[in-house]
Symmetry: C2
Subunit: 418 residues, 2 copies
Amino acid sequence: MSLRDDMTILADRAVAASRELALLNARKKNAILKAMADELDRQSGRILSANRGDVEAGRKAGLSPAMLDRLMLDAGRVAAMARGLRDVAALPDPVGRKLRSWARPNGLRLVKVSVPIGVIAVIYESRPNVTADAAALCFKASNAVILRGGSEAIRTSGVIVDVMLEGGMKRGLPGNAIQLVRTADRDAVGELVRLTGKVDLAIPRGGEGLIRAVTEQARVPVIKHYKGVCHVYVDESADVGMALRIIENAKCQRPGVCNAAEKVLVHERIAPSFLPGMAALLSSKGVELRGDAKARAIVPGMKAAAEQDWHEEYLALIMTVGVVPSVEAAVDHIMKYGSRHSDAIVASSKAAQDAFARGVDSAAVYVNASTRFTDGGEFGMGAEIGISTDKLHARGPMGLAELTTYKYVVRGNGQVRG
Amino acid sequence: MSLRDDMTILADRAVAASRELALLNARKKNAILKAMADELDRQSGRILSANRGDVEAGRKAGLSPAMLDRLMLDAGRVAAMARGLRDVAALPDPVGRKLRSWARPNGLRLVKVSVPIGVIAVIYESRPNVTADAAALCFKASNAVILRGGSEAIRTSGVIVDVMLEGGMKRGLPGNAIQLVRTADRDAVGELVRLTGKVDLAIPRGGEGLIRAVTEQARVPVIKHYKGVCHVYVDESADVGMALRIIENAKCQRPGVCNAAEKVLVHERIAPSFLPGMAALLSSKGVELRGDAKARAIVPGMKAAAEQDWHEEYLALIMTVGVVPSVEAAVDHIMKYGSRHSDAIVASSKAAQDAFARGVDSAAVYVNASTRFTDGGEFGMGAEIGISTDKLHARGPMGLAELTTYKYVVRGNGQVRG
């Protein structure tokens, strides 16, 4: 049987399961999630044993220490996975919400109601906890999920799915609601994301390479997370202390994540007084600054920024610094070089705030706050399956609501069209 | 210069125009729409003259009478186009709506606000009025549009766009907000829908062949309209008179459109009394019925339905008839053979209504009303750019709201992440 046949069977099973899932009520889904969490706790030893196999194989295969760390589980990490499932159980049901309801002059009553998307393929890299997180979120939104994790975590992911199924099926989880692609064949993803009519959505989570590969092969819709080239713009009207705190937080609090700031733009009227202090602060935190000509004229020791620096997502303690003549110029710059992820203005001028909030078309635009808040938890969504840099269907943090779509239910008393 | 270069230039211009469009307020946009409408009225003669050229060329090329009819304009049709633009001007601005706003415990205030999608490519077939309709709807939602009409209407569409631009630019329309692909080269579409990062969305409008071709080539998101295989299910609890009126309307009022019903399913308890009358009524309207074994046992003269009949979108006075044992069986049948467009139940039982409304995952599910209401105008959207059979971003009728996306604007007073 070909790989395509294998993936088609998986998808057909998922389609069938999605129909059963659509009929589960919230109480039942939450009981299943809790049973899955309990089972993860109960079978923690089995998961850790499978994980030791993956880690050993990874060591032999020469995985980097960073990759091994991402791969490795301990009792605390398994317990955190189980807690994550209970947290998802505690969230409100995203399915069956009345998004809008209205009546027409002919008496038809329309309700736009949230419904599951159907079958979602989640393709990710080495972190085994994504297996549990993604499965729980897709399930809570009544979607069937097909998981495809990194091959280096294949033993761990396999056991996590088995354990979740064992727990969940005791409480009525459809057996094919959560499926894992268990072949290491790299072409499986390509086959999966071409199954239009069966797979409704693909969500790749990982590095840019993975996401581009999935997008290139896909015929089903893909929600992507590309890079975060995030800016902080310091307006001439900024509170200087606030600007420094925000820049330090946005750059240094966790430099390796997508919502960390990579660029600072400073209004030319405030730059001479602001930049030296900012440079001293960031240098003391170990940040390397790369400036444009105007910034370097103010802070002479600063390295020169190349054109490529403005495009770069460093994910490290490096920051590009530019001086701009106006908030409009800052907006233009961000629209030219930014990745439409998260961008902030620090300003006390309402006019500047509004020009920025209106002009910058990013998933999240901040006024006087750090870019680091772009996150499902920080937004109050309770959990997130990822952050979308796409514009359609879901933009920015994706929580449970973004794992649903809608349909219209129209009730009448015999209306026909004239 | 290659076709790809040509399309890239078009797209780059559209991206630049989309930034200008995002800053236009509703009053300005409406003034532009009215100026475009006035100009269409004023230059009606010029449009009709170009149209005569297309019709003449079409005749020589052997276009069918139906295609020539779709292509041909008269003064009334041009006036209707202008009226359509004024109707769009009268609709509320879909951009800048607060979709949700909330605060976080740390004092951050979040607003989810509707914003334009950006650059939309609309690919359509021979009707020249789509040129004006699609341009007006995309523009009202502050999107730059790239239009690609059928080559047989190329003169007419060219003049319509020229006239709209002449009118609109007097009132401040950015010159590249509405662009038309003016080459007849068929590969232009393929190039256009591969321009990720420049073109945000493609909307093909036309037959299944066009839509499949666009989807196959696209790397940008595509919102598709495939076929409408719409069902009416008559429950055992149905009001028989209502069922007959709804079936007649859904099948006969306009059989060539996507929301016309193609299939009837009848509960086995009501079938013996219902089907003979239904068959007589539909036969009197010229409808050919094709039935399953149980239906044919009740109405002996009925043709036999083949398996393929259940999948077919006839767009003609033909209807497939089946007998089912329960509402659940009707739901299963519709989920197996339907196209997730529009499906109706006729029932007075609340339990049957709810089972159907819940179980059928179609864009529009009707209880005691005709499937023919799936339409932007009938839904009260004012106008529609199409009906989506996709599940993501937009489902069912797409009006102005569906031509927008959203961003989050987050306001704080110096919040940083801990």
